[in-house]
């Protein structure tokens, strides 16, 4: 197919789509920042964690080094938890499903 014919084909398809394609998108309204869950989880549920973390650094007695130690605990334990689960699930994939899960395998 020549370049011109290809271009016409794409154009014809686009024109036909205007009245014929239903126009629904499977994830329309559910993607992009931000949805209701974003507000509920990050705006409401986790609010006490934000207040807690800020309070580690302000008020008395507090100091930056110990506050940061707390943040290292929070980040380190989160990473440890999810990396541990990733290793376990990859092992399950290798042993029972013939390879690491997508997109790793």
């Amino acid at each position: 197919m020549s370049l011109l014919a290809g271009a016409l084909d794409v154009t014809a398809s686009a024109v036909a789509n205007l009245p014929l394609y239903h126009g629904y998108e499977p994830t329309s309204g559910t993607t992009g920042f931000s949805g209701p869950g974003t507000w509920i989880i990050f705006g409401l549920i986790l609010m006490p964690v934000y207040v807690m973390t800020i309070s580690w650094f302000v008020g008395n007695p507090s100091d930056e080094k110990t506050g940061l130690l707390g943040v290292v605990y929070l980040v380190g334990i989160t990473a440890n938890m999810w990396v541990g689960m990733l290793i376990l699930t990859v092992l399950i994939g290798l042993v029972f499903y013939g390879g690491a899960p997508s997109p790793l395998g």
Partner: protein, 447 residues
């Protein structure tokens, strides 16, 4: 109650002794866990269909059964456990300080068991982490399941941080009496320690407890966890705002029972009668009575709303619930326990530790039955009779039953091994019992 003074040697006894009973318990708990792992390996090989849960076309349409019921049961135990510990620190309940760390461990063990159940219930568990993380930015907007994953992570991290920060004080002071073989572990646990941090860490854990005491009852076990069910309006058993307080009441009864059993086991094994006193067990039993009363009250609300001029679906659901013999067994166990707790409140001579432990077992069994029934009946009584043509009824498979014993074994193993590494009773608590600090206790700090 013994007049013996609590000492450091008392709380170090589990770490520095190795008894035949400990070995036997590890063997029993390990065997229970291993049995389930064998069943799970078979399930991984053949698919979730071996339990009947992977198939919409059988079992009366029930695709969530013991796995999800036990998941909520463990999450409840976990949330209730840390609420107890946070209350000790925040609300001046120093009396319960000796069981606070056990409650924290119960939270970590319970959340581990709950997370494990999610993995076990998946058709392709190997994809769990990659699919959750790669789609998180989309799914968090609308999926209560993803909210659940988020808050359970937050909760585990908060509890582990709480335990990790409080343990530093104990390890540094008791280091000379702790086993040298675990030196690398203690080095990591006390990383960057300086005595100047004590006061600041106390204030930081006060704030963690404050975050927990707001999040756990109001937003997690009275929020996101019941929302997994209560937001589904076409499932009348699950639907409705009552599920928030109901879940919380069940969580607290389960957790107090769990802490009672763990405390009784350690007290007996290590002769801690002067640390975890009869008074503590009686206090826990009274709290158990209060939350059991709440539990029955919320059940009454659900039933009355389902039988007095309800809608068609709600009537069918309430009717199904009331005609399930296991529901009656479950509520009977709670009601019987409550009657005993009332009786011993009126006549203190009726209280014995053995009876308190039996009551704890009765309530824990009742809440497990209630949770599984809640999940299963949700599918059995749905709007529009979606599954009316689906043959059969739900009967838990052997692997599912083994999963309950296996996760109990897993949590028992966590307790047994952690108790060999760190003091399972806070050093602060024996200092408090000895009166080493001022009358308000060392944990009370300026907010």
């Amino acid at each position: 109650m013994s007049a013996e003074t609590p000492s450091e040697a008392d709380i170090l006894r589990p770490v520095n002794t190795l008894t035949k009973k400990w070995v036997a318990l590890v063997a029993i708990a390990g065997l229970a866990f291993a049995l389930f792992l064998v069943g799970w390996a078979y399930q991984l090989q053949k698919g979730l269909v071996v339990t009947g849960l992977g198939d919409w076309g059988s079992g009366g349409g029930v695709t969530w059964g013991v796995y999800i019921g036990a998941f909520i049961w463990w999450v409840g135990i976990a949330h209730g456990g840390i609420i107890l510990s946070a209350a000790v620190r925040l609300l001046g309940m120093e009396r319960y300080m000796p069981v606070a760390r056990m409650a924290e461990l119960l939270t970590l063990g319970g959340l581990s068991a709950a997370g494990f159940y999610i993995l076990v219930h998946m058709g392709r568990p190997d994809r769990m982490v990659t699919s959750v993380i790669s789609h998180y930015h989309i799914t968090v907007h609308n999926s209560p399941l993803v909210w659940d994953v988020t808050v359970i992570t937050a909760y585990f991290v908060l509890t582990a941080t709480y335990l990790g920060l409080t343990i530093r004080y104990d390890i540094v002071r008791l280091r000379d009496d702790l086993p040298d073989i675990l030196e690398p572990v203690y080095k990591i646990l006390t990383f960057g320690y300086s005595e100047a941090e004590d006061e600041i860490i106390e204030r930081m854990v006060w704030w963690i407890a404050a975050a927990i005491i707001i999040m756990a009852p109001l937003l997690l076990h009275g929020g996101v966890i019941p929302w997994l069910f209560s937001l589904l309006a076409t499932y009348p058993i699950w639907d409705g705002g009552i599920q928030g307080p109901m879940f919380l009441a069940i969580a607290l009864t389960s957790a107090i029972s769990g802490v009672t059993i763990a405390a009784a086991a350690f007290t007996r094994a290590y002769d801690w009668h002067h640390i975890i006193t009869r008074d503590i067990f009686r206090g826990l039993l009274l709290w158990l009575g209060f939350f059991s009363l709440m539990l029955l009250w919320f059940q009454l609300q659900t039933i009355i709303n389902g039988v007095y001029f309800p809608g068609v679906a709600a009537l069918e659901a309430a009717h199904g619930k009331l005609h399930a013999p296991l529901y009656m067994v479950s509520m009977g166990l709670v009601a019987g326990s409550l009657m005993y707790i009332f009786a011993q409140a009126l006549r203190p001579e009726l209280f014995t530790k053995t009876r308190a432990i039996i009551t704890a077992f009765a309530v824990l069994s009742a809440t497990l039955i209630e949770k599984v029934l809640f999940v299963v009946e949700g599918f059995l009584y749905v709007q529009f009779s979606m599954y009316s043509g689906v043959p059969g009824t739900y009967v838990p498979s052997l692997i599912e039953i083994a999963s309950i014993l296996g996760t109990i074994g897993m949590v028992a193993l966590i307790f047994l091994f952690v108790s060999k590494m760190i003091p399972i009773v806070e050093l602060h608590s024996i200092e408090h019992l000895r009166g080493d600090h001022d009358e308000h206790g060392s944990t009370e700090v300026e907010a």
